[in-house]
Structures are given as C-alpha cells and as structure tokens.
C-alpha cells in the first residue's frame, strides 16, 4: 500500500499525517517547554481551558479528574452553539497521556488519543499526538468536518467537482 491519501505538511510547525493504511491522525509539534509543563497544560483543567477548542470558543470544564482511570467533560460555546466533549483519562504519566475523546454530537464515535512528550534538550519538548479512530470514515469525518469554519466550502467544492463530472 502506498501513501495515496497520506499528507504530511510542514510549512508551519505542526506536522500532520493521515495515512491510508491506518485510521489514525498523527501530529507532532515542538514547544519551548519541559515535558512536565506540557503534561500540566493537558491535565490541569484551568490551564487546559485557556488554550483548547476552536479560536474564539468559550470553554467551561464540567468535570475533570486527571488521573489514570479518571474522566473529563467540558462544554465549548462556539458561534452561539454549545458542544459537549467527554472522555476518560486512561494513563496519566510524566511522559505519556492516553485518553479517549468523544464529541457528544456523535456519541458512538470514540477516538483513542496517545500523547507522548519527547525531551529535546534546551528546555524544548516535542509533542507526539496520535488519534486512533474506529474506522476510516470516522477518521476522515473528523478531518473534514467538526466545528471548523468553512467546512461547507469544502463540501460545496466537492459537490461542484462531482457535479462537473455528472456522477
């Protein structure tokens, strides 16, 4: 199997890959921080709420128990609409976070997220984030939709594409 539908982009600092042989999204990003600070940014509710979610969304943490076996839930108000997200913290460790992720609008679609923190020295850390989905449809649905602004542009363009070919 070749990498037909794999795209790795590196013009920013976040790199992403959506391989064609596994329903995963892999991302890497370097930070001027220690692994401990990055773990805290993902496990301290107050800190997490300051950066997560789409830009301009209001995050309210409803429930947060950041330890192995714990769970979390937060609400994001985005463009006047409230969306619930929830999941479980499976592993909370200094070098590794494993958790599930569900958007309550699609409660059966559960992604498994594994974050690892690679110390690069000089106070820098590389975050590796892998999201594993139940199916390719679920993975590609996540990539193409969700709450992004402009997703309808994508659909419109696809519709136009398909219409041109009169399929």
């Amino acid at each position: 199997m070749t990498t037909t539908t794999t795209t790795t982009t590196a013009d920013g600092t976040t790199t992403i890959a959506a391989p064609s042989d596994l329903p995963v999204i892999r991302m890497t990003r370097d930070f001027a921080a220690t692994p401990a600070q990055l773990v805290r940014a993902h496990t301290d509710a107050e800190v997490f709420a300051r950066w997560t979610g789409p830009a301009g969304s209001q995050i309210t943490v409803d429930h947060w128990d950041a330890r192995s076996g714990g769970s979390w839930r937060y609400l994001a108000v985005f463009q006047g609409q409230e969306h619930g997200f929830r999941g479980c913290f499976h592993t909370v460790r200094a070098d590794r976070l494993v958790q599930t992720f569900t958007w309550e609008g699609l409660p059966d679609a559960v992604a498994l997220e594994t974050l690892t923190f690679e110390e690069l020295g000089d106070g820098r850390t590389r975050l590796h984030a892998v999201s594993l989905f139940e199916s390719f449809e679920a993975r590609d649905g996540m990539l193409s939709s969700g709450m992004e602004v402009g997703v309808n542009d994508g659909y419109a363009r696809l519709d136009a594409l398909l219409a041109d070919r009169e399929v």
Partner: protein
C-alpha cells in the same frame, strides 16, 4: 449534499479499493490489469470499480474495447485541503498553548501538578 462525501469515505474504507486506487496512481489500467493481482473474479473487481466510480474517485475511458480506468486526482486534492485545514487549526491551538506555557514559565507556578511522576502522585492534579 454530504451523501456524496460519505460515498468517498466509504469507497476508501475498503482495503482492496484503496489498493486499486494506489495502483491507479501510477497510471490508467484496464479492469483485467486491475484484477490480475487478486484472487477474485472480474465481477468482484467490477463491483469495486462501480463503488469507486459512484464516489467520483475514478472514471472509465470511452475506448469501447479497453475502457481504461482513470483516477480522478482532484478528489484527493480536496482531502489534502481538509487535512491542511485541520493542521492549521491544530497549529492555531498550539500557538495559544505556546502563550499559556510562556505565562506558566513566568509565574514559576508551584502547584505541583506538573511534577506528576505516576498515577499516585497525579492525584494532586485534581483541580476541578
């Protein structure tokens, strides 16, 4: 309108069809050429092609004899755009995290949660 999109994803969810698409990246092929590596009937391969055609991923040539199968690369360009948009959103989120981390640095916080070494120590991380 999202139905067409579902066809694309459903078409690519099957490993045989993904393999056929991968081989079509190298160039057009006839149904016979596409069927050759598989231990399946021409009928089964034709069925897979119908799904790919229905999703707009491939088209069939007009040559009545060969009717070569052609990959419509634009559909993949579109997927690439989705992936790039997803990446840009992640990057925007991580830039906000950069700012938050810089503030954590300045405040020399000593909440202790960042010292988490194992699951027992992390109980101190309960903040909500």
């Amino acid at each position: 309108m999202t139905d067409q999109l579902s066809y694309v994803f459903a078409a690519l969810a099957d490993p045989t069809r993904r393999d056929m698409v991968a081989r079509l990246c190298a160039g057009d092929a006839t149904v016979g050429e596409l069927a050759a590596p598989y231990d399946v009937s021409m009928q089964a391969v034709s069925k897979h092609l119908k799904v790919l055609e229905g999703a707009g991923l491939v088209t069939r040539g007009r040559d009545a004899q060969r009717r070569p199968v052609h990959l419509e690369a634009e559909v993949f360009d579109l997927m690439t755009k989705w992936i790039e948009r997803y990446r840009r959103e992640a990057e925007a989120r991580y830039q906000r995290l950069d700012d938050v981390l810089a503030q954590l640095d300045e405040s020399h916080d000593n909440h202790g949660t960042h010292d988490t070494q194992d699951t027992h120590a992390s109980r101190r991380g309960e903040t909500a």
